[in-house]
């Protein structure tokens, strides 16, 4: 039974599509039918859809030009809604049922576009025109309109519903391209025992041989490919990646590969981004065909000859009814024969060379296909699509046209030569130079780890004849279809002294579009060389950059988006906090409660209640992220003493010393406590945000600067849950728990630490206080944290013991004026700025940062210094407000670093860094936040319990 043809240009036989399976699809809201095996491009061509887009600048109608990723015109939106994909390359969109595709340019549509007016006024819009106008009154006057005209495709507005994956692979040999050459290279390496990865951007292996009817090692290519594919499948250590494009070559032979998954299946990633580490790389990437340059060489119906060939032999699509072929090299004659044999009318072959091999001459003669030697197209006609081509006969020196002839045709196959695909070679630093014989960039020297195997029918360097028509209006000879750049634009750039290839590129935008000049770079270099009268090899070339073809952002990101964008770290007692209404916020990855709101409470109300409870009775705080590091060894004390501004040598066992650590510039790095557990065994604490940094810091100095000190450092931050029990009732509550530690004040005073057992758990208990109240900072093994937490709450129930969050904790410490590193301090704050200058000065021995404290800048008396601020009740201080002294000459004299209200009185208090603050106690300053101005009094902290007696209870 004869199946209905899918489209007026579908041949009744030939091609590798399945004519028994039809696929409906829509383009610009019209319904068409294609076949299984079609791409969007082949199906559109089969259906006679010639115009698919409007060009970027002049809005000229454009049709499919190629059959590959170098496609400049067939960039279409595929899909709608959240799955809309802008600028999909039609030759790579595999046709699926009910696929929806749209042109991205042209208003109101691609068939009729008002923007074509720009084409009619083209002389105004030469390259660089926007540099010379739009100056008055300013760019904003014109920008909105120009932005609307630019851009190809619409960005989706909803989140991407698809998933992506990043994966890694290691191999000895990475072969890129599974044409005949690539298959052979992969097999050779695999048989030699190498781990091989073979990458092919098509859905099938085999490359051009799949459909061009060639013979390989005496077999039909399709049979040979099938057998080799089977062989590779069976070999261990061989990975085949189909629908995968090698897009980037980075240092140390690391390559990025972009894999498309098809058909889309629920639960499977839409694309994969592979990071491949290869021992060596084999480029079997073939070559990209180049166009000829002549007048109006951009009309729908003009296509690369190799593309027409693939549409014909692989997809069973005729390019038109009357086809003319024009070339400057040998590769086009096979197509002439194939078109004729498929029943398509071939008008002849126009060849700009003056001679062809005898075998070719004979073959064409036997098919009655006329060859016009020494001829080149000079112009075409057809308002919406190709209608005719004017061919000119070249003079002997190629500089003039002696006679012309116009032929009516609706398809023109052009072949201006082949450029070997060496993008990855260039990305890896391989050097290229223009070769005038082949009109292409060729490698000038081998690369240590990238082998080029570009052979077969698309050989490395096919010689060409003339490529560019010597006559005609250069303003209508296109070089770069994507950016609408013409030969006249190149001429203009040189005329204005934008001479280097990079200047030409940036001035005209040639080669700067998404195709990175795949079908324009070669011609550009030839034309520039001709105009400048120098050998093209001297021009150099613009830098080729990754990615080789555009890659979906989502694929590069992979799974590390959304909740996985940054890791979350949970406190050992997290489950309890979550169950009890804690408001949790992220602090350097740790999810920490900031307040525990009870019903009807706002965050501020909960914070005030929690703070008051601590002062009145007791509160419970989860301090587990506190950095904890053990330092052991005979030289542990000497080692640690070299980091703190405090003299540690007088430290007694069980006594806790609070200390500051500096960077070598003298700036405060961290603060924490040091305690001697036993001779040669110390435990230090750090701020939670710096736990990892301090550990790394200690290790760096140990290994690099003081390797002879006998010291071992162990980070134990996550090993211990740390729970602070703070308030006047703390001792009473803790005493109820079964423990081996004597909690009486004389046995366990403030700033000491005891080890023992609590609830039959090993425990380390500090008496240190961040709140200014009697505090036990209790450490137990992390897994036991929840048990201790609940036990304390139970023991404290009669006292109404409740947890407090970070907001209340910081509020309480603010009242005491305690330093919060990273809030009061920044990378310029030195000890003297926060009242620790004397301690640092009194220590005679060296420590990290000490020498810097004597630099002139760190000795100035007008530095920003830590002070307290108060003001009249009823107002609030805002963190980040700036301060100005009464007689100030500077724009700002400092800023508020922490602010809140006194838990007991509700009065506003703040800490601030103020210029020469220590001399300003008692004076008034102006406080400015935005436009709001108030006044405050400078005081010396703390604001509460100045004697500190409560901590010592």
């Amino acid at each position: 039974m004869i199946k209905p043809k899918t489209g007026p240009y579908r041949l009744t036989q030939g091609g590798q599509i399945d004519r028994t399976r039809t696929i409906p699809f829509r383009f610009n809201n019209e319904t068409y039918t294609g076949n299984a095996g079609d791409t969007l491009a082949s199906a559109l061509l089969a259906n006679g859809v010639r115009t698919v887009s409007r060009s970027f600048k002049f809005h000229r109608p454009r049709g499919m030009f190629s059959c590959g990723m170098e496609e400049p015109n067939g960039l279409l939106q595929v899909g709608t809604g959240p799955r809309a994909t802008p600028s999909a390359r039609a030759p790579f969109v595999e046709l699926t049922p009910n696929l929806e595709a749209f042109s991205q340019s042209g208003w109101p549509g691609v068939a009729f576009d008002v923007g074509r007016a720009l084409d009619f006024t083209a002389p105004m819009w030469a390259a660089g025109f926007y540099n010379k106008t739009f100056i008055w009154p300013n760019w904003h006057t014109y920008e909105a309109a120009i932005r609307r005209m630019a851009g190809l495709g619409k960005a989706p507005t909803e989140p991407d519903p698809d998933r992506y994956e990043v994966r890694n692979l290691h191999c000895d040999v990475l072969v890129i391209g599974a044409g005949v050459t690539g298959l052979k290279a992969a097999l050779e390496a695999a048989h030699a025992g190498a781990r091989v990865v073979l990458v092919e951007q098509d859905r099938l292996l085999g490359g051009q041989a799949l459909w061009d009817g060639s013979v390989v090692e005496s077999s039909p290519a399709t049979d040979w490919i099938g057998a080799r594919t089977h062989e590779l499948d069976e070999l261990p250590g061989v990975t085949l990646l189909r629908r995968t494009t090698a897009v980037g070559c980075y240092d140390h032979n690391v390559l990025a590969l972009s894999e498309r998954n098809h058909p889309p299946r629920a639960g499977m990633p839409r694309e994969r981004y592979w990071i491949a580490r290869a021992g060596r790389v084999v480029l079997a990437t073939g070559a990209i065909e180049q166009p000829l340059i002549f007048g109006h060489n951009d009309r729908p119906g003009i296509m690369l000859a190799g593309a027409i060939r693939q549409y014909l032999l692989r997809y069973g699509v005729a390019p038109g009814r009357r086809v003319l072929l024009a070339a400057n090299n040998e590769s086009v004659y096979g197509l002439a024969k194939e078109l004729k044999e498929a029943g398509v009318k071939v008008l002849g072959v126009v060849d700009s060379r003056h001679d062809v091999p005898e075998a070719t001459r004979a073959a064409m003669q036997s098919l009655s296909i006329e060859i016009s030697l020494g001829s080149i197209p000079v112009d075409t006609a057809g308002f919406s699509a190709l209608r005719s081509v004017t061919v000119g006969r070249l003079s002997n020196d190629g500089r003039r046209i002696n006679s012309t002839q116009t032929l009516e045709c609706d398809a023109l196959a052009v072949s201006g030569g082949w450029s070997p695909n060496l993008h990855l070679f260039a990305q890896a630093g391989g050097k290229l130079a223009y070769d005038p014989v082949s009109g292409s960039l060729q490698p000038t020297a081998p690369h240590p780890s990238i082998e080029i195997e570009i052979a077969g029918s698309a050989a490395l360097a096919i010689p060409i004849g003339p490529r560019v028509s010597p006559v005609g209006n250069t303003r209508r000879q296109w070089v770069d279809l994507l950016h609408d750049v013409t030969v006249a634009d190149l001429e203009l750039a040189l005329r204005e002294n934008y001479t280097s290839v990079e200047h030409v590129k940036r001035y005209t935008t040639v080669g700067m579009a998404a195709d990175q000049g795949k079908t324009s770079a070669a011609a550009t270099l030839g034309i520039l060389a001709r105009i400048r009268g120098i050998p093209a090899a001297e021009l150099g070339h613009t830098t080729l950059r990754p990615p080789f073809t555009p890659v979906t952002l989502g694929a590069i990101a992979g799974r590390d988006i959304g909740e996985r964008y940054a890791p979350s770290r949970l406190l050992p007692i997290h489950a309890w906090h979550a169950r009890h209404g804690a408001l949790v916020r992220d602090f350097a990855g740790w999810q920490r409660p900031v307040a525990y709101m009870e019903s009807g409470e706002s965050r501020e109300m909960a914070t005030l209640r929690e703070a008051r409870s601590v002062r009145a009775a007791c509160g419970l705080f989860d301090a587990s992220p506190l950095g904890k590091i053990e330092v052991q060894g005979p030289d542990a004390l000497e080692f640690l003493d070299r980091f703190y501004i405090n003299d540690l040598k007088t430290l007694q066992p069980g006594r806790v010393r609070y200390g500051l650590m500096l960077r070598e510039t003298g700036a405060i790095f961290d603060d924490g406590t040091v305690v001697m557990l036993a001779p040669g065994h110390f435990l230090i604490t750090t701020t939670s945000g710096n736990a990892e940094r301090v550990y790394a810091w200690l290790e760096e100095w140990r290994q690099c600067e003081w390797p002879r000190l006998r010291v071992a450092i162990t980070a134990v931050t996550e090993q211990w849950a740390t729970i602070s029990l703070a308030g006047p009732r703390a001792r009473a509550i803790l005493s109820k728990l079964d423990s081996s530690i004597d909690l009486t004040r004389s046995e366990f005073p403030h700033l000491t630490m005891r080890t023992g057992r609590l609830l039959n758990l090993p425990t380390r208990i500090y008496r240190v206080s961040f709140t200014g109240e009697l505090t036990y900072e209790i450490n137990v093994p992390a897994a036991a944290g929840p048990r201790l937490w609940e036990a304390l709450l139970e023991a404290g129930a009669p006292e109404e013991l409740k947890p407090l969050g970070l907001d209340a904790l910081l509020q309480l410490r603010l009242e005491k004026g305690f330093l919060h590193v990273g809030t009061e301090t920044d990378a310029t704050t030195v000890p003297a700025d926060v009242g620790w200058g004397k301690v640092a000065a009194q220590k005679a021995s060296d420590f990290v940062g000490k020498r810097s404290l004597a630099l002139p800048e760190n000795l100035r008396s007008d530095r920003l210094q830590l002070v307290g601020l108060t003001m009249e009740p009823g107002r609030i201080f805002v963190v980040g407000s700036h301060l100005r002294l009464a007689d100030s000459r500077d724009p700002s004299d400092g800023w508020i670093t922490s602010a809140g209200t006194m838990a007991s009185t509700g009065d506003p208090i703040a800490l601030a860094m103020l210029r020469a603050g220590h001399q300003q106690i008692g004076t008034e300053v102006t406080v400015q936040d935005g436009d709001a101005v108030t006044h405050a009094r400078v005081v010396s902290p703390p604001f509460f319990d100045k004697s500190g007696g409560r901590m010592h209870a």
Binding site: P123, M124, A150, D160, G248, E496, S500, A557, S892
Partner: protein, 413 residues
């Protein structure tokens, strides 16, 4: 020839035949009053202002490659003056004010789009830091205002307020925006050339002639040239050039990456910056989403970036703009940035008499081009640092008087 819609029209009629060279290809003479080493934005601007503001006529700009081929041609085109320290603020705002007039001054459309820039805060602590910073900018007399998350959503519709690191707010500079980098380079080159400056490309400086601590010329790939005043502004080569003059600079050169997506219709009308979710994002007038990354964190002159930084940056962009996931990365590249210990530039005199330096711009030299030009021109012409750059001298590293932008603004250390 003046650029205007009339000369455009005239040339349209005559087939573009009458456009003159944008700048003269200078022939290297053997002696100049001033030699400017480096044909990027700073060098060309300096040469222009030496001619325009100080009347000098014997000036050469020596460029080892093609003008604008360094960082001037590779940056993400952001201009802003929202700096924390008073010294920085004064300098960069002067630069932005010059940008505001630049197109008219140079008769070259630099496409300054003052579309605004919003700097995001992703936690309450970051918001406090932002408020400190925003107020600092205002106290310095420059425009800045705090924004709530809702206000941010209003000006950046595609932004995701509730990602893994939710947006707590931010601050806006309305006068900030983007400006076309090639146009700035070419505009200054054309104007300088018209005032007699010799712009010499493909001319590499190979050494200095220094006698008794005073510079008297350079040796180049095109022969020796004498001059009593020489300025080095060669981002990416500063250490190398300084070493030729016997100087050691506090500079580490790193690769700074940038990338663009395929062009799409307008979707982002403002520049968005996040320090902690690290990326700069804007949309060019051609429609590409332009993305600036952080530097690859080790010494590099390779002028290309690595995969880890690329991926981290794209993850950051999708954290801020999840709807951009289906857009495609079109091109990535990198510059060579000279990073100083305090992320502030080094401008002014050197220990060698007559030798001036302008370097250390790190990731932020593009916005500084006009003020870099005027202040260095003043410094070279008078022999004394311009008041705006007095704090940025090389000697600040001896006294510890660093101008630490990041630190003062509270960025995590």
């Amino acid at each position: 020839m003046r650029y205007s819609v009339w000369t455009l029209l005239g040339n349209a009629i005559t087939g573009q035949q009458n456009w003159p060279a944008a700048w003269r290809e200078g022939t290297l003479r053997r002696r100049y009053d001033v030699i400017v080493i480096g044909g990027g934005g700073h060098g060309l601007a300096t040469a222009y202002y030496l001619a325009k503001n100080h009347g000098l006529r014997s000036i050469a700009v020596l460029e080892r490659g093609w003008i604008g081929g360094g960082n001037s041609g590779r940056n993400t085109q952001v201009v802003r003056s929202n700096y924390f320290c008073s010294a920085s603020s004064a300098f960069y705002d002067q630069s932005l004010k010059l940008y505001e007039e630049l197109g008219r001054e140079l008769n070259f459309n630099v496409m300054l789009s003052q579309r605004g820039l919003v700097w995001l805060a992703h936690s309450e602590h970051e918001l406090e830091v932002s408020r400190r910073w925003c107020n600092a900018i205002r106290m310095n007399g420059v425009d800045s205002e705090m924004l709530t998350p809702e206000q941010i959503k209003h000006v950046v519709p595609p932004i995701n307020l509730r990602g893994r690191l939710p947006i707590a707010g931010g601050f806006l500079q309305r006068r900030a925006g983007i400006c076309r980098h090639d146009a700035v380079v070419w505009g200054y080159a054309r104007a300088a050339s018209a005032l007699g400056v010799d712009i010499v490309q493909n001319c590499e400086v190979l050494g200095f002639d220094i006698v008794h601590g005073r510079v008297c010329g350079v040796r180049t790939s095109q022969g020796p040239v004498q001059a009593d005043k020489i300025v080095m502004n060669v981002a990416g080569y500063s250490s190398h050039l300084a070493r030729l003059a016997g100087l050691r600079l506090p500079i580490t050169t790193m690769a700074l990456q940038a990338m663009v997506t395929e062009p799409v219709k307008p979707v982002l009308d403002i520049v968005v910056v996040s320090a902690s979710v690290h990326a700069y994002v804007s949309q060019s007038d051609r429609g590409e989403i332009v993305i600036g990354a952080g530097a690859d964190a080790y010494n590099s002159y390779a002028q290309r970036g690595g995969l880890p930084q690329l991926r981290a940056t794209i993850q950051a962009v999708l954290e801020l703009f999840p709807s951009f996931s289906r857009l495609k990365l079109m091109r990535q590249w990198a510059g060579r940035v000279d990073v100083t210990p305090d992320t502030s530039p080094i401008m002014g005199l050197t220990p060698v008499d007559g030798l001036f330096v302008n370097c250390g711009w790190g990731t932020g030299g593009y916005k500084a081009i006009p003020a870099g030009g005027t202040t260095m021109a003043h410094t070279i012409a008078t022999g004394r640092p311009h008041p705006l750059i007095a704090g940025f001298g090389l000697d600040r590293f001896r006294t510890g008087a660093l101008i630490n932008e990041d630190a003062a603004a509270g960025v995590a250390h």
